[in-house]
């Protein structure tokens, strides 16, 4: 009997060993598992149901018709999310059985002639939309929005202002305080990041990036690469405000260093150069997030994130500390020492993680949708928050939100 057991144990051990060897056979990539587990490739279909409110087209389609440029700027995620949900199997037409409710408002689509969004009317637009849904459907009042989610990809999320100080002053739009916000902004201990928000990457055009790929055996010969502004002369002439002085510090310390290919010029070979670089700097600008992170991930360049307390997209699904290099803003003068002291096996491991196709897919918003892309990651994030705790359901007549809070300009009808 004992011998039998021993034999079985040995067999299992051998099988397991062989399986593990064959599983790690592919040296090119590594599986990614974050704090929530190995969830990047989860399929949200069947795990949640989303009901999409039918809003009058003045909230969405008419705005898009007025300005189709909204489809290609950094904040286009809100439009594509709406389209994705309308064609996805997670959408349910029966609101009684829905877990989450989505309100399609294109709040960042009011563009200047140069293509930059003006967020001044957005609070009023959101407010009027919520007034509409709370009066036409009973689901908002049931939970005061705790099982509703909104996509607010603007600079400081639901603050609807591009200046950080003003945004902090205003606070999150009071009526959105209980809802889940899907936003690009992420900074820990910042009032602009609600607990329970889902951080997403900014929109970057996937076809453009895919069209500019170079053969993968082109040797990576640039050590550190960065293209962008170091000082914003228009808005911050003396320096020190823009990027909290971090970008200017990078320039002053490393402008004469041959290992650092940094400049403000925008070359036509920007995407190709990123594929020839080992490290790509992703410092903060006026806000801590930027499409540079998405580009670095897609092109296999290890992102060097210089933004204190930043929260990166899908932080519970993607272990960012293992993939990127985090440098504190005060350590910028020692950046070369930090980067060269990383052991080469760690660098190779980071490159293997970056080569994982599910990582690249998770950062993009492709049209048509692909499994494992950013839309699915958002749904996975929403699914992980289920089931809703019983406390979100309010007793009839109970009110928590203050509908008249906020600056008076926001209270005007839209």
């Amino acid at each position: 009997m004992r011998k039998c057991l021993w034999l079985w144990g040995l067999l299992f051990f051998a099988l397991g060993f062989a399986w593990s060897i064959t599983a790690e056979r592919n040296p090119c990539t590594e599986r990614i598992s974050g704090s929530a587990g190995d969830v990047l490739e989860d399929d949200p279909v069947g795990r949640l149901k989303v009901y999409v409110y039918e809003l009058p087209s003045k909230y969405n389609k008419k705005i898009l018709q007025k300005d189709p440029r909204c489809l290609s700027h950094m904040f286009a995620a809100e439009i594509f999310m709406h389209r994705f949900l309308l064609s996805s199997p997670v959408q349910t037409l029966n609101p009684e059985g829905a877990d989450w409710f989505y309100t399609p408002i294109y709040a960042t689509c009011d563009l200047t002639p140069t293509g930059l969004p003006l967020p001044f009317k957005s609070p009023r637009m959101v407010r009027s939309a919520i007034q509409l849904i709370s009066s036409s459907w009973p689901y908002w009042n049931r939970t005061e929005g705790a099982d509703h989610f909104f996509v607010v990809p603007h600079d400081f999320g639901a603050y609807f202002h591009y200046q950080e100080e003003k945004a902090i002053e205003r606070g999150i739009l009071p009526i959105l305080r209980r809802a889940t916000l899907v936003q690009t902004f992420g900074q820990r201990n910042h009032v602009c990041l609600n607990e329970g928000s889902i951080t997403i990457p900014p929109y970057a055009p996937p076809q453009k990036m895919r069209a500019r790929q170079i053969p993968p055996d082109t040797p990576r010969s640039i050590f550190v690469y960065f293209r962008g502004l170091f000082c914003d002369v228009n808005n911050d002439p003396e320096g020190g405000y823009y990027a909290r002085g971090a970008r200017a510090a990078v320039w002053e310390n490393f402008k004469s260093n041959p290992l650092f290919d940094i400049s403000t010029e925008h070359p036509t070979t920007y995407y190709e150069d990123m594929q020839r670089a080992i490290f790509c700097l992703c410092p903060l600008g006026w806000a801590p997030w930027s499409p540079r992170l998405v580009e670095a991930i897609v092109f296999g360049c290890i992102p060097v994130i210089i933004a204190d307390d930043t929260v990166l997209p899908f932080a519970d699904a993607i272990p960012w500390e293992e993939i990127g290099v985090f440098v504190a803003e005060e350590d910028v003068p020692k950046l070369d020492k930090i980067l060269t002291s990383i052991p080469s096996h760690v660098i190779l491991r980071k490159q293997r993680l970056l080569a994982n196709p599910s990582m690249k897919r998770a950062m993009l918003f492709p049209q048509p949708t692909l499994p494992g892309d950013a839309f699915h990651q958002i749904l996975n994030g929403l699914a992980r928050k289920l089931p809703h705790p019983k406390s979100v359901y309010l007793k009839p007549g109970e009110k928590i939100l203050n509908w008249t809070a906020g600056p008076i300009t926001d209270l005007k009808p839209w």
Binding site: M74, T112, T114, L116, P117, F120, Y162, Q163, E165, I168, E169, Q187, N189, H190, V191, P216, D217, P219, R220, F223, R227, G228, L229, N234, N235, P237, E238, G239, G240, Y241, R244, G245, A248, A249, E252, N253, F254, S256, N257, P258, L259, H266, I278, G285, W286, S290, P291, D309, E329, E330, V332, D336, L339, T340, I342, I347, L348, P407, I408, T409
Partner: protein, 501 residues
């Protein structure tokens, strides 16, 4: 980055923030405006104007002065403004770039250690590259590139066995150094079999020992003859000798024939890894014609398709081997070099050995190899071309995208028959003096050197006439003397120029 630039110019509206927030603020106040609000608006506008003139934000300076004088907090600014003003106090005396390293402000208004507001720009005392870090970075880059090559380059690279026939002559150093350096750059395992006509010599041995490669150096008893025909035949025999070594030592890899005067590209070594049994690549033929006959040029002009100087496999549309390109030797008929030191064009054979590669397993005695390979022990006579090694020439695999890529070049350049060179190119005993150094540049020029005194005396006579002319044209003695000296200098520099010619 376009998008971030977009964002920056978009935030350029910050400068218009007064205007845009103006209507909001005024509308927020509704019908009435408090005198404090009006006062602040006016002050803000005034400081904006002053800032335009001065070039920095004057309003902050004002607030600093006001906040230090009283315990006043502006209604428009949050407590984080105070943190900012603390920074400004130490920054104001510095120049606008702010390259004074500042300590990080610890006081925060929120729980986060990140503060909104103005920060110092940290610069280390010596912001230049550190050589130790640069070396470490280069090692990292090398490691990453090796890994890339492992992942995306050739899978399972095989060892390369290079067979080179050579002999001692003036141009041997030139040719063999070229091949040696090419082989030293090859990223794969390498064995170099050097077969030397006339026996193993110290010349060749000392030359190839510098490479650090694994070398098998054997001698061939015959000496290299003086005519090209004989030389080609002997080289063929030497290559067979090399192949026999591969058989004896049971070397495993890909055999390539690298003649010592050829030039190989690095892509060649990557491409031959694709050869399964017997491959062929295109060879560029550089048949240098020293004296181009006019008739040759005419004939060339008459031809409709100028012949490419390429030898190699030719494929049909379905990328299968259909035939062979060879170098057209007709224009050179009768005018080609016969002896090795002739100045006429050296012509290649119909198919050069260097364009063929074979799997070393074809040469082994036992082991599974295709039946179309002849046993090299049975071949003893003259083999005209490498295709005589196989029974069926259609089995040859065309490499380099079916022969469209030329990966190596064939060249034959040799010195005059009576040329001598120092053994191992070390000059010992010292050469005899041909030109004594005291008499440089050359003994043919006038013996006087262009020193200060002599030429003035020597050359003065011819230019006295010139000086008389200048005396009449210029009355001042000083300028005349200067003029004289400059003239002499010009004369001497003129002499120098002629001397250098």
């Amino acid at each position: 980055m376009k998008l971030s630039a977009l964002q920056q110019s978009y935030l350029g509206r910050r400068s218009n923030s007064f205007r845009s927030s103006g209507p909001l603020d005024s509308s927020s106040d509704g019908a009435f405006k408090s005198p404090a609000a009006v006062f602040w608006l006016v002050l803000h506008g005034l400081s904006c104007l002053i800032s335009l003139l001065l070039g920095f934000r004057f309003s902050r300076l004002v607030f600093l002065l006001l906040s230090t004088s009283s315990t006043y907090t502006s209604p428009f600014h949050s407590p984080t403004e105070l943190a900012k003003t603390l920074d400004i106090r130490s920054v104001i005396p510095a120049d606008p770039v702010g390259n004074v390293p500042l300590p990080f402000p610890n006081k925060t208004a929120t729980n986060s250690r990140v503060v909104v507001g103005r920060h110092g720009i940290r610069i280390r005392p010596w912001p230049h590259p550190n050589p130790v870090e640069v070396m470490k970075a280069h090692r990292i880059i090398e490691r990453v590139q090796t890994e890339q090559r492992l992942q995306f380059g050739v899978k399972d690279p095989r060892k390369i066995i290079v067979v080179t026939p050579t002999y001692v002559r003036t141009f041997q150093s030139l040719h063999l150094t070229g091949v040696m350096h090419s082989l030293m750059l090859v990223p794969y395992d390498l064995v170099w079999i050097v077969v030397e006509a006339g026996g193993v010599s110290n010349e060749t041995a000392s030359l190839i020992a510098k490479s650090g490669l694994r070398i098998i150096h054997v001698g061939f008893s015959q000496r290299m003859p003086n005519s090209w025909d004989e030389r080609h035949k002997l080289e063929t025999k030497m290559r067979l000798r090399g192949l026999r070594i591969v058989r004896e030592k049971i070397l495993d890899g890909i055999v390539i024939f690298a003649d010592d005067s050829n030039m190989h590209s690095m892509e060649l070594f990557d491409e031959i890894q694709n050869a399964k049994w017997f491959g062929a690549v295109s060879v560029g033929i550089l048949a240098n014609s020293a004296n181009i006959d006019e008739t040759v040029v005419e004939k060339r002009g008459e031809e409709e398709n100028p012949r490419m100087p390429v030898q190699g496999p030719a494929c049909n549309v379905s990328n299968m081997l259909a035939g062979w390109h060879t170098f057209n030797t007709l224009p050179f008929a009768g005018k080609s070099a016969v002896y090795i030191d002739d100045r006429a064009t050296v012509l290649p054979r119909k198919l050069e050995w260097s364009g063929f590669v074979l799997n070393s397993r074809l040469l082994w005695k036992d082991g599974d190899k295709p039946e179309w390979m002849k046993d090299i022990d049975t071949l003893d006579g003259d083999i005209e071309s490498p295709l005589d090694l196989v029974k069926d020439p259609s089995v040859v695999e065309p490499l380099g995208s079916c022969g469209r890529r030329v990966l190596l070049w064939w060249l034959r350049v040799e010195a005059r028959a009576d040329s001598k060179f120092p053994p191992r190119w070390i000059i010992d005993p010292p050469l005899e003096v041909t030109v004594p150094s005291k008499r440089t540049p050359w003994p043919d020029t006038p013996p006087e050197l262009p020193s200060h005194k002599k030429p003035v005396i020597g050359i003065q006579e011819p230019i006295i006439k010139h000086t008389t002319k200048t005396r009449t044209s210029r009355s001042k003695r000083r300028s005349k003397r200067k003029h004289d000296e400059t003239r002499t200098d010009r004369r001497t520099t003129g002499f120098d120029k002629t001397l250098q010619n």
